[in-house]
Amino acid sequence: MSTQSSRLAARVMVAPSVVLLFIWMAVPLAMTLYYSFRLYRLLSPDRTGWVGFTNYLWFFNSPDFWLALWNTLALVGGVLIITVMLGILIALLIDQPVKGQGMLRILVIAPFFVMPPVAASIWENLFMHPQNGLLAAVARGFGAQPILFLEEYPLLSVIGIVSWEWLPFATLILLTSLQSLSSEQLEAAEMDGASALNRLRHIILPHMTRAITVVILIQTIFLLGIFGEIFTTTQGGPGSASTTLPYMIFKQAIAAKDIGRAAAGGIIAVILANIVAYFLMRGIGRHLDA
């Protein structure tokens, strides 16, 4: 049905989205690239000039950078593993014939509606606080020492908080996928004597592949830029223990007021995102019939 005129019309209709997104992406990126090769410190504004790769080298020579790189990947990977695994288990559980499924869904989806600063501050204060937090009270109730979550296990704590925020998303997509699986197929497999584990491996999980792909893709996009949760809870510390690449860039820009370095960090973050995206699309992209 695509005649020449409708093709032209289609181009015209796609154009605004493409042009707007291109500007939104290209202009700040070009500016960031420009600054990344410049000496530009807000504290000494009159000293400017080209500095080549100095800003980049500062990152590569900083031990914090490699830690931040690892923390970024650990945060993304950790949250993905937790939310996908728990999401599958919870979806399997809720999909059973249980009473009040509608109400269950309402409870499970709730964290999705909590904005990141609120989620982070509830967890930091009401739960993880070593004196007044509920988890400390529970530990004391068992006669144990309260765990110093944000001091001793900062990255794991942040991973926990972010996983709580994203678990509803994963669970609900996986649950919807599960509900579209025909029960005849499962019953037939059951009658043929397939064990529960085999049914899960050969029928249920393959059916959920597409849904799992979408969960991983969408979550990775949002997780690579995680910032607010760290800012609210650990501020990247103690030391640099929970500093991710975005947070390290933020510290360079706001605390050190070194725009050139922050820009170089930004370019590195963009490159990292592209590498992750490349492997993601090669690894799971074929499941996605977008």
Partner: protein, 276 residues
Amino acid sequence: MARAVSPRRKTLTTLAAWSVAFIIFFPVLWMILTSFKTEASAVASPPELLGADWTLENYAEVWQRSDYPRFFWNSVVISLGSTLLGLAVAIPAAWAMAFVPGKRTKDLLMWMLSTKMMPAVAVMIPLYLLFLKLGLIDTRFGLVIALMLMNLPIIVWMLYTYFREIPGEILEAARMDGAGLVKEILYVLTPMALPGIASTLLLNVILAWNEAFWTIILTTTKAAPLSAFIASFSAPQGLFYAKLSAASTMAIAPILILGWFSQKQLVRGLTFGAVK
């Protein structure tokens, strides 16, 4: 895939499922409960539940100390405005991709999504400077534009997956009857795609409402939405648990209620067309 099971097993799975759901929901519940306690009761050890001092004092104080209605209204304008503008730009694009797909449509969609992979912090300074130059700092219009562009890839993608499910023959029939392109979109496509557009609208209003980076960086007072309201509250006073909880509850309540009422629509939208 509902199947017949023994009553005993049903009771057990019901119990297990409700326990899990309760644990996931519990932090929100605890926050709401804490918001109705006095400050002393909120930090009492062991934690108080039945014997707690209940009060509405925290809400009264938060209401008095900050201009909640202004933050709330800014949130409404920014999240709804950015979503509606996004829909206006994205509907034609998604239409074209779904009904006149080219060789590069798939790549184009992936490229759009990839623009979201750029960490916001990475381009924070240039965008701030651009907004400063254009006079858009601390304006609702500026935030509407920023959040619209931020969510545009998601909007296009969601609409595309909905539009693709509409049979092309219907559009051809409309064309035979002499409907032009605009009429075709307005009178044939839009009504059929309305449920999909509604889900897209909902999800993106929620994403925009909860956005807490650009809304804080690009505003100071006039245009600051609820994300900035809560950020200003939690920073200096970590120990005022009850008031923090009250402010937090006030920040998330509107979207929580909207989300709960539109749950079914929303879940459909969340799947990004991955699940038929």
